[in-house]
């Protein structure tokens, strides 16, 4: 059995942090007591974390093994809910069409609790040969009709505010080669460098005729390299725009998958 006490929720502030913020509510002394307004504030602050902790378990650490044309999916169900949830195995292809394997052990929709070492065997995985192409496995917890693959393209608005922010909302960032924080640092860093280069740019002393008329303008002195400010700012904006487009594409994918899951699913 899993020791729940050892698994602190990553978003939940611990007891000592709360005491540091609001004082100890169980302290009997005369100097510290929790006023109703403070208590309400604590409840309001904890509410989203509590709601988050009540969500369905998420699937992590998915890996596969195969034998005799069968595929076995090993995964971890991560979540605080002690109640078992129905688990379904689905696939989607490059056009986001959903496929549901029929012969699985345990059966589709079997109840599983949070924890490690969960397995689901797809017995007729050899049909993958007849289907051709590649498929992406996805393990759905709870009712498939309510399953959300992630936020839609509206998450791109967050990337519009801060590059990389939308990626965190979309999720699954651990597998990305270029992490979202790199995009934030890259975009803001290049923009800052470009603005700095622009401020540091100056024109040298012009060359005058004898009557003090300017014969030739002075040469431009760049901070880093020729046209540095334009190139650096351009590169920063390019990273920013690319991130918005990337998040939008991934959001569209989530929306298509959600729509297809509720409309058309092929049996495998």
């Amino acid at each position: 059995m899993r020791n729940k006490a050892r698994h602190q929720h990553p978003f939940l502030p611990n007891y000592f942090q709360l005491i540091a913020l609001f004082g100890n509510p169980f302290h009997v002394g005369s100097t510290s007591h929790l006023k109703p307004s403070k208590l309400l504030l604590v409840v309001l602050m904890l509410l989203p974390f509590w709601l988050l902790s009540q969500e369905k378990p998420t699937v992590t650490n998915l890996h596969l093994s195969s034998f005799e044309g069968k595929l076995e999916f090993h995964f971890t169900l991560k979540g605080n809910s002690a109640l078992p949830v129905p688990v379904h195995l689905y696939f989607y292809d490059s056009d986001y069409r959903l496929y549901r394997p029929s012969q699985t052990i345990p059966e589709q929709g079997s109840l599983m609790s949070s924890g490690t070492h969960h397995r689901m065997l797809w017995e007729n995985a050899a049909t993958l040969y007849k289907k051709g192409g590649t498929l992406t496995p996805v393990i759905i917890t709870g009712n498939p009709a309510d399953f959300r693959f992630g936020p839609g393209p509206e998450a791109a608005l967050l990337s519009l505010v801060i590059p990389g922010l939308g990626d965190y909302v979309i999720g699954n960032t651990s597998e990305q080669t270029i992490q979202p924080w790199m995009r934030t640092v890259g975009a803001f860093g290049l923009l800052a460098l470009g603005l700095h280069a622009s401020e540091e740019r100056y024109r040298g002393e012009p060359i005058y005729w004898n009557d003090n008329r300017i014969w030739k303008s002075g040469e431009i002195h760049y901070k880093f390299f020729r046209n540095d400010a334009e190139l650096l700012i351009g590169a920063g904006i390019a990273i920013w725009v690319a991130d918005v487009i990337w998040v939008s594409i991934r959001g569209n994918k989530n929306r298509s998958l959600r729509k297809n899951l509720n409309t058309l699913v092929f049996e495998l």
Binding site: L71, L128, Y129, T134, T136, N172
Partner: protein
């Protein structure tokens, strides 16, 4: 193993054309033709268009002698056996296929693209001699269409296009026979990461024998050395 129905048309002396029937489609296979048009060369989907002598070894140990060729586009192994033209319809029932001195296996594979895990199955050429760790080469076809001459819809003149198949080689590593093959890059870092338990010995082996981690033939030798180490259990440090 289930083979498709076949019809063979024979001339007076030897078969000229064989028709392979796959479901509702039928395909003419001219394997004695000595002349090939340029168009056919462009659209040749086979690893080698000519039939090669080989043998199919099933999981149970049974062996079938045949003439074979690999269709890279459909990912199918075609074979002519006792005058019948067939294709392998249950590739997971096959242990391996020997073709022109090369060993082919059919495996599940996974690769990660933009954070997504893609799962597929295909024929691979096994580059190293034996397991448990196998270096596998996947050949797939990419169809390039090139527009040769402009068309005109109003005059009903079609665009003249030229289709060309380009073979794409990708390398996979299967660390255990019960694990799908995973796509690898041809570099020292990734190979050593996957074979981490013998990292130091493999580096020493590659250095002393001048083996490159980028050359597929050398990679196969390094993996063979790794397998030998694992089989022997111990090695001199």
């Amino acid at each position: 193993m289930i083979f498709t129905v076949l019809i063979q048309l024979q001339s007076k002396t030897q078969p000229q054309t064989t028709f392979v029937i796959r479901g509702g489609e039928s395909h003419a296979v001219s394997y004695f033709s000595s002349e090939r048009s340029v168009k056919q060369q462009w659209l040749n989907p086979y690893l080698d268009e000519n039939w090669q002598a080989g043998r199919v070894v099933l999981n149970g140990g049974d062996t079938w002698e045949a003439h074979l060729r690999l269709d890279l586009y459909r990912k199918e192994m075609e074979l002519v056996m006792n005058g019948d033209s067939l294709y392998v319809s249950e590739p997971f029932a096959i242990n391996y296929i020997e073709l022109d001195g090369r060993k082919f296996v059919y495996r599940f594979y996974t690769e990660k693209v933009a954070g997504d895990l893609l799962l597929g199955s295909d024929y691979f050429e096994q580059l190293n001699t034996a397991g448990p760790v196998r270096l596998l080469l996947q050949r797939s076809l990419r169809v390039d269409e090139q527009r040769m001459a402009p068309g005109n819809v109003q005059l009903s003149i079609n665009f003249e296009t030229k289709s060309r198949f380009a073979t794409v080689n990708r390398y996979f590593l299967q660390t255990h026979h019960e694990v799908p093959a995973i796509k690898i890059k041809r570099n020292k870092r990734q190979l050593l990461k996957l074979l981490n338990d013998e990292r130091a010995e493999l580096k020493r082996f590659a250095r002393s024998n001048r083996k490159s981690f980028r050359n597929p033939a050398h990679m196969a030798e390094i993996i063979d050395h790794y397998n030998q180490l694992k089989t022997n259990g111990t090695h001199e440090k």
